[in-house]
Amino acid sequence: MQTFGWPEAYFILRAASWTLALTAIAFVIGSIIGGVFAIMRLSRVKLLRQIAAGYILVVQSIPVLMVLFMSYYGLSAAGIELPPFLAASASLAIYASAYLAEIWRGSIESVPRQQWEASASLALTTPQQYRYVILPQALRISLPPTVGFLVQLVKNTSIVQVVGFVDLMRAGMLVNNATYQAFQIFTLVAAIYFAICFPLSRLSRHLEKVMNASRSH
């Protein structure tokens, strides 16, 4: 029987790069979709607001696992075959978009109303207001919760192993199936996740402190 040694640990460590890649892709795509929904959520058109609110509510009220199953098994049964990596990134991007939309809506709303009024009185159009006045300020406010959400995203990538994609979690399970030394293996897997998430958590908390300090002046 194979035992858990350096080659196995190296295999797990290498798979961690796929977890990071998946997180990055889901974050980038999720940001684009989430940004659109955040602005829709604040639109003057009622229908757009309702669509965005409905999307956010639905995605936040179902398990990520279901989004993953729907996009992988569901679509493949419907004849659309998605490769595991694509299904995994698509479903994580959908999940991320709903949370990011809600975080950014809050950030945009917490820019003082006078900023809108002042920029409107300078005859800026709505896109110009967003581009030059509101978003630069909202970005600063949104930074701590966005980094905090990244931690959730990294952790939630662990479920994509159900569709057969070899990420950090899957690598741990594969080694476990070969060596049956679950305790050591999952300690290592947990340690790697912790090594990714803990600095992000601290960064988020640090940014929050910096922002609070600058706002109280």
Binding site: V58, P63, F186
Partner: protein, 230 residues
């Protein structure tokens, strides 16, 4: 689309829904008790106890729920602690929720002004009484919205317990899917059930919050730690 194959298995689905609800509520109840104890330990006991609680909270919050579940289900038997999927799920959910709830309650405890504690002590209340009536109860009232969203997230995360072959809602979905080969229909039905469950639990918890903490409804509440998933 053939939904009747899925719908006709409604007794199975109902069982799954029942197990999801029971699993979530037991874990939430136990997790909340554990979180309250840990918060008390942080506030009342010496600083080393606070460090232990902090370390526990950071450890749980920065590792995925799935890894915690596997550690309990596959890892602990190696140390001689063996349990079935349901017990492992319950333990993992309780430990996970307790960490998040401790962090949320901490935000509430931190929001209680020091002068309140001093006022309590000046009224000859004991340290335990001050903690219970002056710190904990108002803190709970303030963070109830954040706690209830965490409860809903825990219920959604319980779907992950199907990985250790627990027949809750998503575990049931996997069986129905394997039986009928109607994946899309199965997952649509189950997703809609999760949606209805999550929304009703959210409404019920809001109602409960207004009943338990009537004195603060309408007041400013601490709503940070919002949107954190397992």
């Amino acid at each position: 689309m053939l939904f009747q194959d899925v719908i006709s298995r409604w007794p199975m689905i109902l069982n799954g829904v029942g197990l999801t609800i029971v699993l979530s509520f037991v874990a939430i109840g136990l997790g909340l008790v554990l979180a309250t104890l840990m918060s008390a330990l942080r506030s009342l006991a010496g600083s080393w106890a606070g460090y232990v609680v902090d370390a526990y909270v950071e450890l749980m919050r920065n590792t995925p729920f799935l890894v915690q579940l596997f550690m309990i289900f596959f890892g602990l038997p190696q140390l001689g602690i063996r349990m079935n999927g349901l017990e492992a799920s319950l333990l993992a959910m309780t430990l996970n929720l307790a960490a998040y709830a401790t962090e949320i309650i901490r935000a509430g405890v931190d929001s209680i002004h020091k002068s309140q504690v001093e006022a309590g002590l000046a009224l000859a209340m004991s340290r335990r009484q001050v903690f219970q009536y002056v710190i904990l109860q108002p803190a709970f009232a303030r963070v109830w919205p954040a706690l209830s969203s965490q409860f809903v997230l825990m219920m959604l995360a319980s779907s992950i317990c199907s990985f250790v072959s627990v027949q809750e809602l998503s575990g049931t979905a996997a069986i129905i899917e394997a039986d009928t080969f109607r994946s899309f229909e199965t997952y649509i039905v189950v997703t809609v059930i999760y949606l209805v469950l999550a929304l009703s639990v959210k409404l019920a918890l809001n109602w409960l919050g207004r009943r338990i903490f009537p004195q603060v409804s309408g007041l400013a509440r601490v709503t940070e730690a919002h949107g954190e998933a397992a």
